[in-house]
């Protein structure tokens, strides 16, 4: 068990290093650099910068050096003292830009996960135990719709509907008075009030997908010999369901957390842009467009880290729950 956990953690470290390289590389791939984007902007605003100024900036940000050196200059301070570099565009340390957004991203993602499981597990159990009933068909149909509606479209529809019906647009995660306030009880409550809309929008697709997986998993398990054995022993149906197929079907569900978390983080990125949430998503979009290298690479990397850590945690949880995984997946 312990060796399994150590193996997974070791794997996680390797993946994290890979992620940091890939992120930095991808962000630096586009032709041109922030300096050029910056120059174009200045030119467009009618006050072009001199070549000397631009050269000075290039040297100052180390953009004249080879990519590998730039990566080194970024990753070493990051690992040694949590310094994520400097934002060209915002003219402040990346960490101070990202810190608050990171926590809010984690909160929105985790609450969405909880929402997904809280809704999908009971619905899937109902659906599987009432196969071919009207309720089951309704669930399946809604599930397909839930998977088909792009979440940013759902966010837009909600915004439009609420604007037309109530005259308000439920954007952001805070009321104006708490927007830039330090953390307090009031700010926390304010956050809770604002969470439901983004959480439902972000979690919808995941909920639909999880219902689908769990339902078919349960139906598969119902057919298994060990369920027949238990039934032949005289175990009452309700207890049978929860002790056996549900318990066994739970394992793939936990391992789907590995797929669900990237999906939720992915979905929340675009939803955050539409709903104007102060999470990493909008920052990433803006940094990508402005070629604000360190912000973009750090944002992309943190989102990757978030999912990888989540996946490894769900793997470890699965090993605790399933004796077969502990054995090293021999069967």
């Amino acid at each position: 068990m312990l060796s399994y956990i150590v193996r997974r953690l070791g794997y996680m470290v390797v993946v994290l290093i890979l992620i940091s390289i890939v992120c930095f590389y991808i962000i630096n791939l586009p032709p041109g650099s922030f300096i050029e984007t910056f120059a174009t902007q200045l030119e467009a605003s009618g006050a072009p910068a001199s070549q000397a100024q631009l050269d000075y900036l290039t040297v100052r940000y180390g953009l004249d050096q080879p990519l590998i050196v730039q990566y080194w200059n970024w990753i070493i301070p990051l690992v040694t003292h949590g310094d994520f570099g400097f934002s060209f565009e915002w003219q402040q340390p990346v960490w101070s830009l990202i810190a608050d957004r990171l926590w809010l991203t984690i909160i929105v993602s985790l609450v969405s996960m909880v929402f997904v499981y809280a809704v999908s597990i009971p619905v899937a159990v109902y659906s599987a135990t009432h196969q071919y009933s009207a309720g089951d068909y309704a669930v399946s149909f809604l599930g397909v719709i839930g998977l088909a509606v792009p979440n940013f479209l759902l966010a837009l529809v909600l915004l439009v509907a609420s604007a037309r019906l109530f005259g308000i647009t439920p954007t952001g995660l805070f009321s104006p008075e708490y927007m830039n306030a330090p953390w307090s009880w009031g700010r926390f409550v304010d956050l809770l009030i604002h969470l439901p809309v983004p959480v439902v929008v972000v979690g919808l697709a995941g909920t639909a997908a999880t219902i689908r997986i769990l339902r078919s998993q349960l139906l598969d398990e119902f057919q298994k010999q060990y369920v027949v054995t238990a039934r032949a022993k005289g175990v009452p149906e309700g207890r049978l369901l929860f002790k056996y197929p549900f318990r066994v079907a739970l394992n793939p569900i936990i391992s789907t957390a590995g797929h669900l978390l990237p999906e939720i983080v992915s979905g929340s990125t675009i939803v955050a842009i539409v709903l104007g949430l102060p999470t990493i998503g909008p920052l990433l979009l803006r940094a990508i467009i402005a070629q604000d290298t360190y912000v973009a690479a750090s944002s992309l990397m943190l989102l990757g880290v978030l999912t990888v850590v989540g996946v490894v945690l769900s793997d470890i949880l699965l090993a605790v729950l399933d004796p077969r995984v502990r054995m090293g997946r021999s069967n």
Partner: protein
């Protein structure tokens, strides 16, 4: 429980066993929604191929005086209560509302324009070669028919939606074929060679799958240079979608290859001295193509959704290219879309397309699964 089934190949006694194809078709058509979806998808592809003909206008034609006009209602009963079999539309006037001081569109019931078939309108070249100006339907004279309203520049949204669907549906297919090649290649070598190759490919797919897709797409889409032509961008974006999206297919191919190699009938073929190539061709592939088709069907909507999301964010296709995603860029402005909700209609078409592909994939999957009755 499998025992209660039977191991006989054919039953001369009254009961008859259906062939594979017959069972497939019987199971598939029993799935009504999947059948309807198949018809819808085929129809849609036909419609978008002749988009110039089935739409009443040119997608770039700006109708002066009709900015953000609401959808035109088709009428059958006139103001006198008389019924017309041929539908007609009323004229549209742009007036200043004296109470709110905002300009509004008002239906002008004094003007009636019958909806006609094969109307002459904007000139175009069918299939890029046949010059003509005949459109499937339209109204003659000063009348306008905007089935889904117009956009901020006064262009017919219905027309643009059909053209956009053409782009998006084929982005799906193109991205899919790249992703398919990648998935087949990686899954194939992984499942075929096993060992170290398999291990490496497995780690690579695991790595890609543990990353959130959309941020990765966003970062990769930024690689597409700003000065590329719409066609180049189009292929660039398809490639970006494919580069991230091949992992699922690779896993399926690998898993299927591995499990098939273990199957008793493959072992039986090997033992009786059938060559490796023949085993792959006659024993592995048939057990396989059906699953590939199912996964391809289910992967198309993912590609379409990816294009829509990227274009919506301004990182995918860019206007003047028309796609379902670029059509939704207009709706980023909440004020505009609140006043003109029909701007969201292309989103509805996206949902319809994705739903249809999902149901089709479900139906196919149930039909190819020999253990499901």
């Amino acid at each position: 429980m499998t025992e209660l089934l039977f191991d006989a190949a054919d039953g001369p006694q009254g009961g008859h066993i259906l062939s594979r194809g017959q069972i497939f078709w019987a199971k598939f058509t029993r799935h009504r929604v999947a059948t309807v979806s198949l018809v819808f998808i085929v129809l849609l592809y036909v419609v978008v191929l002749v988009a110039e003909f089935v739409t009443p206008y040119d997608p770039f034609n700006r109708h002066v005086g009709y900015l953000l006009a609401p959808p035109t209602g088709l009428q059958f009963v006139d103001t006198d209560g008389q019924f017309h079999l041929q539908p007609f539309v009323y004229g549209l006037k742009n007036e200043l509302n004296r109470e709110t001081f905002q300009r509004e569109y008002v239906v002008d019931t004094s003007k009636r324009y019958p909806l006609a078939l094969f109307v002459k309108g904007d000139a175009y070249q069918l299939f890029g070669v046949i010059p003509t100006d005949v459109h499937l339907f339209g109204v003659e004279g000063d009348g306008k028919v905007f089935l889904a309203g117009t956009d901020t520049l006064g262009r017919d949204l219905f027309t643009r939606m059909i053209f956009g669907a053409r782009t998006s549906l084929f982005v799906g297919l193109f991205g899919l074929s790249i992703g398919f090649a990648l998935g087949l290649f990686f899954g194939g070598i992984s499942g075929y060679f096993g060992g170290t190759v398999d291990n490496l490919v497995q780690r690579l797919t695991e790595f890609l799958q543990s990353l959130p897709t959309l941020p990765l797409w966003m970062a990769l889409a930024a690689l597409v240079p700003q000065d590329w032509t719409p066609t180049q961008v189009y292929f660039g974006i398809s490639t970006v979608l494919a580069v991230v999206g091949w992992t699922t297919l690779a896993r399926v191919v690998r898993g299927k290859l591995l499990s098939l190699r273990e199957e008793d009938y493959v072992m039986a073929a090997k033992v009786s001295g059938v060559s490796e190539a023949r085993i792959i061709l006659t024993h592995l592939l048939p057990g396989f193509t059906s699953y590939l088709i199912v996964y391809l069907t289910l992967a198309i909507p993912q590609m379409i959704l990816g294009e829509v999301a990227l274009s919506f964010l301004g990182l995918g296709l860019r206007p003047p290219a028309v796609s379902l995603g670029t059509l939704l860029i207009d709706s980023q402005n909440i004020q505009t879309v609140t006043l003109s909700p029909w701007l969201l209609v292309p989103g509805g078409l996206v949902v319809l397309i994705v739903v249809a592909f999902s149901f089709l994939g479900d139906g196919l999957r149930d039909a190819v699964d020999p253990y499901r009755t």
